[in-house]
């Protein structure tokens, strides 16, 4: 009971409530490596010869993804480039960038830092009006409340990642999304009735539009807590800090709710994900919006309307 289920070592670092399995430090690290690589094959996330752009924030999730995918790079199966986005969040982002750079360097992976300021002319802090420039009121016509920082952050980050992926000739964009993130997204979008976003959730993006680089989530079935444990057990250099804007988001509320539920129902996140993955193909078939994606008249990126989301925010501020 108190020894490693795999090797018998008495010093265990985890007892998985959902499976009853106990693991020592070494076997735990090994089991995560194996699980991630197994999922990568199962969901066909990567192909030999892929150039993978890893969205590397320096946080535990992206650093763990970088290190595990690097084992495929060492075997010359894939090529990698790491990209860190500097949203411009004072007192938070600086350390993440430094840690991201250190990780990329230690593995010998090319690393680029791209900033909101250089691409969009303003930092996230400026967008949110934390600097007194008056861009603060992010309310748009018809909105009763200002939009949350996460909305801008997500839209602008996706824009940059897609642009850099094209520049770098990357065939995949890998992110550190974990089981908690994924279950939060499923629940959030379902509860908000946001079916367009709901049917896009999955291990791999499936846009038929070639101008969008395929996005993959190799850590999608690993609980956030286990990624944290892995980072500490493998002694990785990770940025352990919370984003100052994450504060009052709906995502956080949902996240707290699921974590609370998980305490007494340790399989709840797995079953939410499994159930969703089963109904998703049907939802997708029935509910995928028709109509072709055009081009944003401002930046040339793919867009549903005349402007892409990023440009519609930018024009709203001009």
């Amino acid at each position: 009971m108190n020894s490693c289920s795999k090797c018998g070592n008495q010093q265990i670092i985890i007892r998985k409530k959902h499976s009853g399995q106990s693991l020592c430090q070494e076997c735990f690290i090994e089991s995560i490596n194996e699980k991630v690589l197994k999922d990568t094959r199962k969901y066909k996330l990567l192909e030999k010869g892929d150039k993978v752009l890893v969205a590397l924030s320096g946080g535990k999730d992206s650093v763990v993804a970088l290190h595990i995918l690097n084992s495929l790079r060492e075997k010359n199966i894939i090529d990698m480039v790491a990209v860190t986005i500097d949203e411009g969040i004072k007192g938070y982002r600086e350390e993440g960038i430094e840690i991201a750079a250190t990780n990329a360097k230690s593995l010998g992976i090319e690393h680029r830092v791209m900033s909101f300021k250089e691409y969009f002319g303003r930092t996230l802090d400026e967008m949110m009006g934390q600097d007194g420039t008056g861009h603060g009121d992010t309310r748009r016509q018809g909105d009763t409340e200002p939009r949350h920082a996460c909305t801008y952050c997500g839209v602008f980050r996706r824009w940059i990642l897609n642009r850099v992926a094209q520049e770098e000739g990357a065939t995949k964009i890998a992110t550190g999304h974990n089981l908690d993130d994924e279950t939060q997204s499923i629940l959030m979008n379902y509860l908000e009735g946001n079916i367009n976003n709901l049917i896009r959730i999955g291990p791999k993006s499936e846009s038929r539009d070639e101008r969008f680089t395929v996005k993959i989530k190799p850590l999608r079935e690993i609980p956030e807590k286990e990624i944290g444990l892995y980072a500490i057990a493998a002694d990785l250099n990770v940025h352990l800090a919370g984003c100052p804007y994450a504060g009052e988001s709906f995502r956080r509320e949902i996240g707290g709710f699921i974590k609370e539920l998980s305490r007494d129902h340790p399989t709840i996140m797995y079953s939410t994900l499994r159930g969703f993955d089963k109904i998703k193909p049907i939802l997708k078939k029935e509910l995928t919006p028709k109509g072709n994606t055009g081009e944003c008249r401002r930046c040339g990126e793919p867009a549903a309307g005349e402007l892409c989301k990023a440009c519609s925010f930018l024009e709203g501020w001009e």
Binding site: Q25, E224, I227, I232, G247, S262, R263
Partner: protein
């Protein structure tokens, strides 16, 4: 008995009863156990681990908001 607790920037000395577990200590300190990894004398331990006199416990927060 007394144990040393390191949590972020904080260095505390805590008085705990015999046969106290990590889980109980976290509860006492008001730290949700699902957000942290705990090292006892520099080795990662599970929350059922018993605490002994003179132990140094490092509590590392790995999950932030959400």
């Amino acid at each position: 008995m007394q144990v040393k607790v390191i949590f972020g920037e904080e260095n505390l000395t805590e008085d705990v009863p015999e046969d106290y577990t990590i889980k109980e200590l976290l509860k006492k300190l008001g730290i949700p156990s699902e957000t942290v990894v705990v090292k006892k004398n520099e080795a990662i331990v599970i929350e059922e681990e018993l605490i002994q006199e003179g132990d140094t416990l490092e509590i590392i927060k790995v999950i932030f908001g959400g």
